[in-house]
């Protein structure tokens, strides 16, 4: 960490600050410039409150020179992490294709879609049982029953299942779930993350609506610090100013996250765009950008879907997209 002191700082003030920093176990290198003094802080700076330091009268600027995440950091773990669930793998060259409806609605619905997406090449089945809806008056998912139905679809197809958790109090219901999803709205629900860190299942962590890449990696770190290193990162669009799409899909996040971290990165073009007709071009773009997988909403009857029908593709459309994605991946 580097702290730049303002011109006009007195010797006593400098000494005082250096004493305080040293008291926190840091070695301080001082280099005097023409107008400013630069302090180089060596040691465990992760405990220093950067904002506090930056807020001191005599301090002009503070810069952290090492990333605050460790377990998720590629520097300390150069090889790609491969996340495994049943026979399916994501990361390290394994491409994960996660597909299924926004919400589980009935046994017939989920089993039909599961069979269709499996036939089209999906390696995971997704489906919401607990749904985070902006309005308390909207359909909140089938809950425990939805998970039961997912397990039936899993039994029928052999596909590992991915579904979202909204409260740690529901964890028991997830005993046979293969991958637990943390939604964008809970990306910084730190108590939930801590508990999931103690569990032995892969976690699919979605990027918060306005989370920076570092914040996302710090949230992964919350899970990993508890001992669970099976984390999949998911870019799903960020909030921006143009009302024309629901979110802005930030595809540069794919190569950036893979550079910063060894964790696999998947992309959800359905939530990112909120529009079925944009799923294909954005799925292809994600594959071309180097993503380790895709998460796509598929519904056999989007017009009657209980939620997010607008962004679902049909099984036929999904099959075509899966084929085109494979073509792009083979080409590269």
């Amino acid at each position: 960490m580097i702290a730049v002191l303002k011109g006009g700082t007195t010797a006593a003030q400098k000494e005082n600050l250096i004493k305080w920093l040293s008291a926190q176990g840091l070695t301080v290198h001082v280099s005097e410039g023409a107008y400013k003094t630069v302090l180089g802080l060596v040691g465990d700076t992760s405990k220093i409150d950067m904002d506090l330091l930056a807020g001191l009268e005599i301090v002009d600027q503070v810069t952290r020179i090492s990333e605050p995440f460790k377990s998720a950091n590629r520097k300390f773990h150069p090889d790609d992490t491969v996340v495994t669930a049943k026979d399916a793998k994501i990361g390290g060259g394994n491409f994960g294709l996660i597909a299924g409806p926004c919400s589980v609605e009935s046994e017939e619905q989920i089993c039909t879609i599961a069979a269709a997406v499996k036939a089209a090449g999906a390696t995971f089945l997704r489906g919401g049982a607990f749904k985070p809806r902006t309005s308390p008056y909207d359909f909140q998912g089938m809950g425990a029953e939805g998970i039961e139905l997912l397990l039936k679809a899993k039994a029928a197809t052999g596909l590992p299942i991915v579904t979202e958790i909204m409260s740690i109090s529901h964890l028991d219901l997830f005993a046979d779930v293969d991958v637990i999803q943390v939604g964008a709205r809970n990306m910084q629900n730190f108590e939930l993350l801590k508990q999931l860190g103690k569990c032995d299942k892969p976690i699919l962590l979605k990027r918060g609506m306005s989370a920076t890449l570092k914040e996302m990696l710090m949230s992964a770190e919350y899970i990993m610090a508890g001992g669970n290193e099976q984390v999949i990162l998911c870019e799903r669009g960020i909030r921006s100013f143009d009302p024309y799409t629901r979110n802005v899909l930030d595809l540069a996040a794919v190569p950036l996250l893979k550079e910063l971290s060894h964790l696999p990165v998947v992309v959800d073009p359905s939530h990112a765009t909120g529009a079925a007709r944009l799923v294909r071009p954005m799925a292809l773009a994600a594959a071309a950008s180097g993503a380790d997988g895709l998460m796509i909403e598929v519904h056999n009857d989007p017009m009657h879907a209980l939620c997010d029908g607008a962004q679902s593709v049909t099984p036929d459309q999904f099959a075509e997209i899966a084929k085109a994605v494979a073509t792009v991946r083979t080409a590269l």
Copy 2:
């Protein structure tokens, strides 16, 4: 709700859609324009998925004409809600001054600050026991012990206390807390909101980092739908593109929220700006904009504060700010 159909929609397609809408209990008014057809949907449109409708091939545009929030809506509750905690009130002309440290650190610290802010005119004491920190390696708060210390400060000063909850599993510890705070990162932790809806304490709901005003009101609605109508809304800055301040304080949210809703609106200039020297001008601006209260971080030794010291003011500075705020409020 209004749906505009694309030019070229066939009579059969229109009929089909109208049948589907009617089946959901809506009355449909059709008005044919030169190029487009406009459907007016009357009835309980809160269950219609706007995005689904908008995503249909034949639909050009969908507009909701009634707000999706009810309990929080000023239309159905024209008078200001007054939230009461012990002797203190917020809303309906009552100005709430909430002050205290970011984190509780020790009995001496919290009691000293409590006495000081009370003397300066604070009507509530705030202090964090459970702290949502971006990094799992940062100080996470004193937890249960922190709440114990807050209760001592409450006993000593008589000030009602406001402190943040991060997990519903901690609720028992909040039995003697006067106002429960939901932080920005949990504004859409819907399971937490639902549980708080069943509790009989006022809830201070902070705006999410990139939450729209309607989303914030829908989150209030989650609490109110459970029966708890004592909700205080808190503007605390939104995320934007300029690295120069931590957040952008959106003061127009104050008159807008008060127009849309009868709930009281307070402003947190400390978190919004992240800089102690900006707290005064933004506190004054918030008061001038019509806020029902302020939430200000105060620390007797900001340099040694365990978190967010950079944005804390000293008790003396707070006293001066409180006086200036009172002057502005008297003038208006």
Copy 3:
């Protein structure tokens, strides 16, 4: 256009408004709902000030149901526009590969790079002569001399050239330039756009830093309204909150712009990311998303480039990218 009136509007107020709207040449369809009245406005609504209408006491909401752009609108011009410059084409299935240095620095530099990018498959040479720099103290480009050198490179390679205009007073210098670029900062310099609308050269219009897609199309409309229909749209990243990249490349803009408009859409991954190592994945993603072309910064000595070296790739890297892009395009 649809205007929804608030509940409680009196008959006299309604009549008054309808009279005013009729006076502006519109036919008004009234449909009375249980709580609200909806007015459908038919006729030339492009002259109605939506904000004014929305701001009236009795009006709850106003929605425009037809896009405000005409010449750029695919509805009135279903076929793709193909922009031609010398032998090169962009749009309608023709992929344009625009490459070259950020700034022209010397004859040797521009001619060397031009030869290299041509050999690698570039169909246009780009190079800045007038440079929009945030600081007045930064290198502002070689100006007229820079254009001279571009023309030499054009003579040597046969590549049509693309270069940015910053003031209409420089137009004479662009007589032999093939495509005139309008930079992001000038996307709403309407006086410049109007003048370029009178000129007979293709215009490459970059998206403003925080321009919506509709605003971008309205800026294209300024050029087209003057008679110049040869406009190329360029997505180059939008401003967002994450300091980790310079901008967020919004690739969903590609299919969206192509749906809304018949104009060709190219992508600039160099400016969007500001980092040479991200150019390849984002170029591939852009190609996969359906872009009609790419604009890539290439420099033979990025370390000594006078501006934006950080985002330039070397000619060898460019050749590899061009090959990979062709592979993706062939695969799809």
Copy 4:
């Protein structure tokens, strides 16, 4: 400027970089840490391309420790600049009240409003003659004739006039204009700024839609570098994600700009919010935050205003706002 080199940088690479930096006239201080090397660069770093340096393979991070603006910098000019136009002053304790219609529409309109706002305490008359409209089909202002009418209103009331320039080719028409306004869309029209830097009139510079404070100050610097130091900065709202208001008024920009620069800072609550009913609370908040002035749209018949009627207040409302603002300023 500080550059942090990555761990693993070889001695030869370091030497090479230091040689290159020295060749550009900088003195380089090297301090070796446990894992990283930090270079302190002393001298005229304003010519170093930070992005280029940051993009080098061996460089981890670059931080500028001195602001890139000079003439606008309070460090080198501690006293407030006072901008003078006729008898009116802004800055250094002088509060400027700029009021008038969005567009000049007729002699009667502008003279009536001018008289009314003068009576209410306005110190400047504003009015648009050249209007930057998103659509080429919208009213573009009366142009030269509009300026003539403004001059008549100036003659009648004695108020100095403020009006926007959209092209340097119109400069002759501004000979008797007192303050030239540069609109948000032209904040980075650098050629225009350079020309205005040679003129001897005050310039009111509006913040771009998504301009950072530093970018805004760099644009002021473009004007000042040309010799014209009479610049007024104007905060007018920035673009954000909530469709509920047109822009987000960033009032913390007021104390921040005044800390960074000696130039006066005014606030435009009309454009920032786009809604007449929000002008009063935001005008009061701006005054309380320490602004040096306000710019308010006033129209005697907002319903028939040719543009932006929705955000205009009536002369009576303006008089009441002016009084309340004075009360707040007196109180503080």
